[in-house]
């Protein structure tokens, strides 16, 4: 029961291969390792699953086709036909977050999505990309997005400022949601697992049962948060393409 039994110890960043480029610490960390693993798992799953190209899919191929259809349907419904060309990005985003969340459920693993900087980087890419798409498609008309219709002239400046701030909130709320869910879930698992040890053979069964239930819930949350992140990306993309709330 030393320092390494702290529930937050699992989030510690460790330098595996120290690298320094021009005074910037660019070490290969455990976080980077698990992101590489996530990438490899998704790539392997998708290529292995589709290698047979069977007309009647096997189990693995069904998984790949189901995820494809799920994201394709999500884009069709929330963005429309113009969203089709952004499918590769959104699919990658979904699979990466989902795999990172699920790999984080493996004992002794590390969850990159429990770090705000990782989720914020993803949300920021989405934010910049969506804004760029908006300007590319509509030019200066994109600013009209911040001007609500049918508002008295006196209130307009105030509302434009509020609209701009609410637009700037997007990457923050998008990243905080995923990060906070992962952080809270994994901390809670560790805390209750600590109770099992602390209460011993006699009293440890109740928290153990709770940990089992919590593990199930965490797996659900892993799916749900990947879904939420992706669908919000779709909604933001829709806003940028069609210019309405």
């Amino acid at each position: 029961m030393a320092a390494n039994s702290s529930p937050l110890e699992q989030f510690e960043i460790k330098r595996l291969v120290p690298v320094e480029i021009g005074g910037i610490d660019a070490s290969f960390t455990n976080s980077a390792l698990w992101m590489v693993l996530t990438f490899l798992v998704v790539t392997l799953l998708m290529t292995m699953a589709m290698r047979q190209r069977a007309l009647i899919p096997g189990r693995l191929q069904s998984v790949a086709e189901l995820s494809y259809e799920f994201i394709a349907g999500m884009i069709r419904e929330n963005v429309g036909d113009e969203g089709k060309k952004y499918f590769p990005f959104i699919f990658t985003l979904f699979m990466f977050i989902l795999a990172a969340n699920l790999l984080g459920m493996v004992p002794y693993s590390f969850t990159p999505t429990s770090h705000i900087i990782v989720t914020f980087a993803m949300a920021f890419v989405v934010f910049i990309g969506v804004t760029a798409i908006g300007f590319a498609r509509h030019g200066l008309h994109f600013f009209g997005f911040f001007v609500p219709a049918g508002v008295p002239k006196l209130l307009l400046p105030l509302l434009v400022v509020i609209e701009v701030i609410s637009y700037l909130i997007r990457p923050v709320s998008l990243s905080v949601r995923l990060f906070a869910n992962m952080l809270a879930g994994h901390t809670m698992l560790k805390v209750f697992a600590g109770f099992v040890i602390a209460l011993g053979v006699l009293g440890g069964w109740a928290p153990l049962a709770f940990v089992v239930a919590l593990t199930g819930l965490e797996i659900l949350i892993a799916f749900l948060q990947a879904y939420v992140f992706t669908i919000l990306t779709c909604l933001y993309l829709n806003d940028a393409i069609h210019l309405h709330h």
Binding site: I162, I165, S166, L168, R170, V176, L220, F223, V228
Partner: protein, 113 residues
Amino acid sequence: MGGDRFPMKHRDETDGDRKRLDELDDRLREARKGSGPPATTSTQRELGVAYRVMVEMIAGVGVGGFLGWWLDTWLGTAPLLLVALILLGFAAGAMNAYRAIRQYTAAANRDGS
């Protein structure tokens, strides 16, 4: 006697099969209607929306506060813009929360009908 019973039973079974097929049809139609996350009940979805609303409102104040603080140090107007932008950030967060709820209501109505 045995020959008499057999067709009866057979017909019963086809009726039962038809009923089961119809039920399967209904269930398939039901399953195809919503295209949200497949394994979530409405309570979980409501929890998701409640959580989203909470994050939007906190992020609103946070982003407003940060923008205000940053503009203040840049323009030297502390604490004027900090106060103003925290208030505006709160309003923006509330607006985002309102939009989240409206989207949820629209989706719920679409699924329900």
